[in-house]
Amino acid sequence: MPELDRREFLKIVGASAGAAAAVGCSDPVSKLIPYVVQPEEITPGIPLYYASTCLECPAACGLHVKTREGRPIKLEGNPDHPINRGSLCGRGQTSIGRTYHPDRFAKPMRRGADGTLAPIEWDEAIALLAAELGKASGRTWVLGGTTGPTASEFLDRWVEAVGAAGRVVYEPFAPEALVGATRTLFGVESEPIFDLSGADLILDFGSDFLETGLSPVEHARQLATARDAGEAGTRATRFVYIGPRLSMTASNADEWLAAKPGTEGLLALALANVALSSGGGTDAGRAALAPSLARFDAASVAKLSGVPAESIERIGRALAQAKAPVALPPGTALASRRATASCGAVLLLDWALGAVGKGVKIPENDGRRRSSYRAVLALVDLMKTDNVGVLLLHGSNPVYSLPPAARFAEALERVPFVVSFASAPDETTARAHLVLPDHTPLESWGDASPRPGVRSLVQPTIRPLRDTRAMVDTLLDVGRAMGGAVAARMPEGSFRSLVEAAWSSSPEAFRQVLAVGGRFENPRPAAVSLAGDALQLEVAEPLLEGDGEFVLLAVPSPQLYDGRAADLPWQQEISDPVTKITWTSWAELSFATCERLGVEYGDVVAIETVAGTLELPVFPRGGVRDDVIAIPTGQGHTVGRWASLDGKARGVNVIAALPSLTDESGGRAWLVARANARKTGGHFRFAIDQDSQDQRGRRLGLATPLSAFAAAGAAHGEADAHGGDHAEHHLREFDAAKDSDANSLYRWGMAIDLDRCTGCKACVAACYIENNIPVVGEEEVRRGRIMSWLRIERWVGDGSLEGGAGLDPILPDESGSIVDVRHAALVCQQCGAAPCEPVCPVIATYHNEDGLNGMIYNRCIGTRYCANNCPYKVRRFNWYDFQIHNWPEPMPLMLNPDVTVRGQGVMEKCTFCVQRVAFARQKAKDEQRPIADGEVTTACAQACPTQAITFGNLKDGASAVVRKSDDPVRGYHALHELNTRPAVTYLAKVTRGPVEG
């Protein structure tokens, strides 16, 4: 070794130090800064829940907002809330994304001379609006969606104080015809409350109450309750759906009467006629109605409605025998120009059968301001004639959701000053002169009252992410800025103090209400009697514009509602529950129609009405009448990161093809147009998430006839003896409880009840939000790369062995009147003998001590063998770095900190919300006890409106999941013949067959 002299030594030392320093320079040092003052109540790692209210639709479900370290990360139902009892629908679940939407307005925006919106300061904006209001005196109008009672009351006072001309409430799907019918029939201005939980025969005249009806979560729960019960477990409650299309709601029915759209009223009266004449109904009903119903005989109504007379008579007799029938009046899709009469006819049926006061409650006149389409049209006329100086728009997107035939957009051009309170850009803000962004509901105070007696609070759970202000506060400041008499009439304080004052006398009492989430009482029913002019309803065939061979049915989208959810990426990606299509619109045509037009799956057709032409691809199915074209609402936006295709329309807006018409009571009519369809020669590849709805007899979704169930009830106590009858279930081939470590107290398992599952996908949305599942976009869904860990598979019957040779999905025929659609929620089955585990070369997927099939993302190298070997196909692969591409700022704030965000090249899947299990385990460990039954549940089970999913410990013999799973008649394991020993037990759907009468 050469000698190391001093100079050499120093050189080396210097060089090393330099190198070390250079390395140290490469990265900026980031520091974790601890709280100097720990915020009260916040413990890192422990979630805090705040009671609030979901304002996504007028149903106003109660919320528990789960926050972590000051950020809302998940919305769950408030268990004490009478509307939703702890559940929450998919739209409610994903509405959390509104707060974190990347394109929210950062501050007030003013349209400059160049026509673009530019940010300004709040003071400036308020002064500007105050000045404009002064100029427009008496020509100011407010147009907006449903607001809570406090805001509504304030708006009325404000309108009066500033000398505005008036205020119009506009809610596209408001049940205006139903309210009109209630007023006509009973003289009460209120929405009837339907309670299905005690019903033994449910007739839905196309209200689609499980999707977009009056209160979907509540009704889903009630339907499940009604069907599950019955005397001595007979499960005899029947559900008949009457409507032109086999919707998701109809898929849950026992029988589907494919009536011509708009003939629901006729059918209701014909059914009432049969029921009353065969001895059913109340004496009062018979006395009042029997004579006038005589002309609605089964034969002639059968001819008008397309429903066989035999069915009308049979169901009519069944209604006569039923102890607690409930009939629901038609909803938005079937709101024709005679919708009030249709709704009235159905209410008459309810009344005649004695359901009013029992299953149908008519509350007292609640004095609420209601949406009125006639008033909207009147306002448009004022705008056209330059009688509106300032238009204030809130909580609605009329440029999108009003028919172009109403000429709202043109009328808006004539309004000198348009103000929008929207928090994110939409088609209407694109035409506003001033945008004063409102908070999102998670940032804001407020309240809601979905029905008399139920008052629900909204409280902020995060400091506003953007420089936004509550609309009420903005208007208060504007009023004050106007000075003089106006300022004097503005109430003291802020929106918060208004809410507080409206709710309670003391801050302490307010705190208590806040903790509960509201005040919940039963509505006081009105003493109703049939009004004299009730029989003047003109129940007849619908009036339709144009002379096409089809009727155009605009179907309210269960995912996008009236289009308001279109810019929430999850709602675009979570597929339609019936067609399984994502990210676009489609036209449902019957197989026969498609054959006649010469079009197939995905072929583009042009649909012409008097109001316009739509070009969109076809989804052929058996579940729609031959003379109907059904198109969902909600697509066709031209603004929005996810709602539009870079500013071009994504899909079509069906409203563009509808003439602007009202029904008898001034409500908006949707079933208004006839249409022609022709082939265009174009083709579109749908992005679907279920390839085939035909299970080829593979026992993924099973059904048991009611008779088998009754037989088992008779032979109670010798369930095993049914082996012969129900051998296909193979429930007891193994003991799933043994598939965890012998020392572990737990083997987590699940029971999924197909008879309760309605296919609504609330669980899917909950899973997306809970588990940080990325949204991949239309093109990736088209390639089958959707990332959902949980999917609802829709199976039509047992299936056949036909088809599968082509590239298009197999579309089974569902046109029969006996409905047998099974919705099977497919999660990872956490198999005891999991095929995925042995094939992983690096043990990235393994069996944990509690029997869960764990996934170690850090260990995964992405061979994807596990996914090939999973027969259920529940594993998802990160083909790209989805979380970088699909979570633009500030969306990462809503990520669940307990769940790893998966990077490119790793496999992922459902782990029964292992993070929730871990949280419960830590808590139990602290308290030195085992986890109790019901203490931990998965996000999907938590969200489910019908409690179709039960999660728990299979080793605890007394647990709810064991009780549910141990069902010798209905229990089965999916693909049991593969011997995967799944921890999920499915409970077969009960097929009840046709209604007997």
Partner: protein, 462 residues
């Protein structure tokens, strides 16, 4: 039983620095192949393949950066063209060892003319195949997790996984094939060393490991070759058996079959021989080696093709029979849709090219008509690629849950990478042609001397 020692003349020829004997024609012919300056054709070919390789490599880098999403995968079809091509190359890699080891043990002397190129092909094919293990995984930067290396986190690999068996099988096979190839090359390297100057002399000198051709060296060499043959023989059967278990061990309909190991081994030999023919026919023509690689060699190889074609034809039949006979609806559906579903073209390509076309070799004229052999062997190569495509893609596209049936079409980046792999293989082989003796000089000369001394015709096997 030991092979007979080489005759004395041959030993003398080996150690003499300059060619003196009449058989030096062989030396000259063979040496000419790799000593001549590369011709225009060679340069064009290597340029073309170089372009393909660069395109493939850049696409791969792009794929590592962006993610596997750029390939055509969809939800149920998690394995695609990469695994298809991987299995294809592993199959190709079988001919070399089969020819070198098994035919050596069986004393099929006609193998001598082709065994060097077949072995080289084995090495390059197995390297190409291994590339795909890296290309296929989602996180290549963590691919070393698959090795059972000691670490403080006590992480270990899963010995139950066929993918791990695969890793070991392929790496063992690579190692043994490489050693086999190299040991066989040593005497020829010595010849080359003695006849070259400059950098080639240095290279061959180093690689020849001081070979002098002494009888002691020959004795050791012969014994080594024999023992290596013994070691390599089971590998020929095991490697593709293990590769087949990648599929057979799973529960995917169309994969889960006990016939897979012999079926795959036969298929591998089939494709390997076809590839040797596809490559050697033009090589023989270009380098004018007709007197060394004679039609007799080709005819023997076509006999192998015929035999293995019958075996895999039988396997195809048995697969369908068992699918029907099992009564399992998922199996039946999978096979029915294999033939009549969206991938029917691939399936019928596979059946016709592999199971029907080779039957032409029942006829002597076809076995000896070189253009026919070339066309058929090329069709077999295509057919064998499609065989793996059919097994992997159709199996995955129609599994147990009809809700997640899906479709797969190779994407352009995927095809670029597959083309890149063919370019990689071709470049390696082209360089081999110009760097090493493509015909085993010593073994051919041994045959010639043997033939002369026994008065047999050169091209006749024993």
């Amino acid at each position: 039983m030991t092979p007979p020692p080489p005759p004395a003349e041959s030993v003398a020829a080996m150690i003499r620095p300059t060619p003196l004997l009449a058989d030096s024609q062989t030396n000259r012919d063979v040496m000419a192949v790799f000593m001549e300056r590369p011709g225009l054709g060679w340069l064009l070919l290597i340029g073309l393949c170089g372009a393909g390789l660069v395109a493939g490599a850049l696409t791969w880098i792009f794929q590592i950066y962006l993610g596997l999403g750029i390939a055509g995968y969809s939800h149920p079809i998690f394995w695609g063209a990469y695994i298809v091509t991987f299995v294809f190359w592993v199959g190709i890699a079988h001919a070399g060892t089969l020819i070198s080891a098994i035919l050596f043990l069986f004393r099929a002397r006609w193998r001598n003319a082709i065994n060097r190129s077949a072995e080289a092909m084995t090495i390059f094919a197995v390297f190409t195949a291994q590339l795909f293990l890296g290309i296929h995984v989602g996180r290549i930067w963590k691919a070393y997790f698959i090795l059972p290396y000691p670490n403080q986190r006590a992480l270990w690999v899963n010995f139950k996984s066929p993918l791990l068996w695969d890793t070991f099988a392929i790496s063992t096979y690579t190692l043994i094939s490489l050693i086999f190839f190299y040991v066989g090359l040593i005497p020829d390297l010595a010849i080359a060393r003695d006849r070259t100057t400059g950098w080639r002399k240095v290279l061959y000198g180093a690689l020849a490991l001081g070979w002098q051709g002494t009888s002691r060296q020959w004795k050791s060499h012969t014994r080594t070759v024999l023992h290596l043959s013994g070691l390599a023989t089971p590998l020929v059967l095991s490697v593709h058996s293990v590769v087949s278990w990648d599929f057979a061990v799973s529960i995917v309909p169309g994969w889960h079959a006990t016939i897979f190991a012999p079926y795959f081994v036969a298929g591998a030999i089939f494709s390997g021989f076809a590839m040797v023919l596809t490559v050697m026919i033009p090589v023989r023509r270009i380098f004018r080696l007709e007197h060394i690689i004679t039609d007799y060699h080709f005819e023997n190889m076509t006999r192998f093709l015929l035999l293995t074609s019958v075996i895999i034809g039988y396997a195809y039949g048995i697969e369908y029979f068992i699918a029907w006979y099992s009564g399992v609806e998922a199996e039946r559906t999978s096979f029915w849709l294999r033939a009549f579903g969206p991938y029917w073209i691939s399936t019928w390509c596979m059946i016709i090219f592999n199971g029907v076309v080779p039957h032409i070799f029942w006829f002597k004229w076809a076995r000896t008509h070189v253009p026919t052999i070339f066309v058929v062997s090329t069709l077999i190569n295509i057919g064998m690629w499609f065989e793996r495509y059919v097994i992997i893609i159709t199996g995955l596209s129609r599994e147990y849950n009809p809700a997640v049936w899906g479709h797969y079409t190779p994407s352009i980046p995927e095809l670029l990478i597959v083309i890149g792999s063919f370019s990689f293989f071709s470049i390696a082989f082209l360089l081999f042609l110009k760097l090493f003796p493509v015909i085993p000089i010593s073994e051919v000369k041994e045959l010639e001397i043997h033939a002369r001394s026994h008065g047999h015709a050169t091209s006749e096997a024993h």
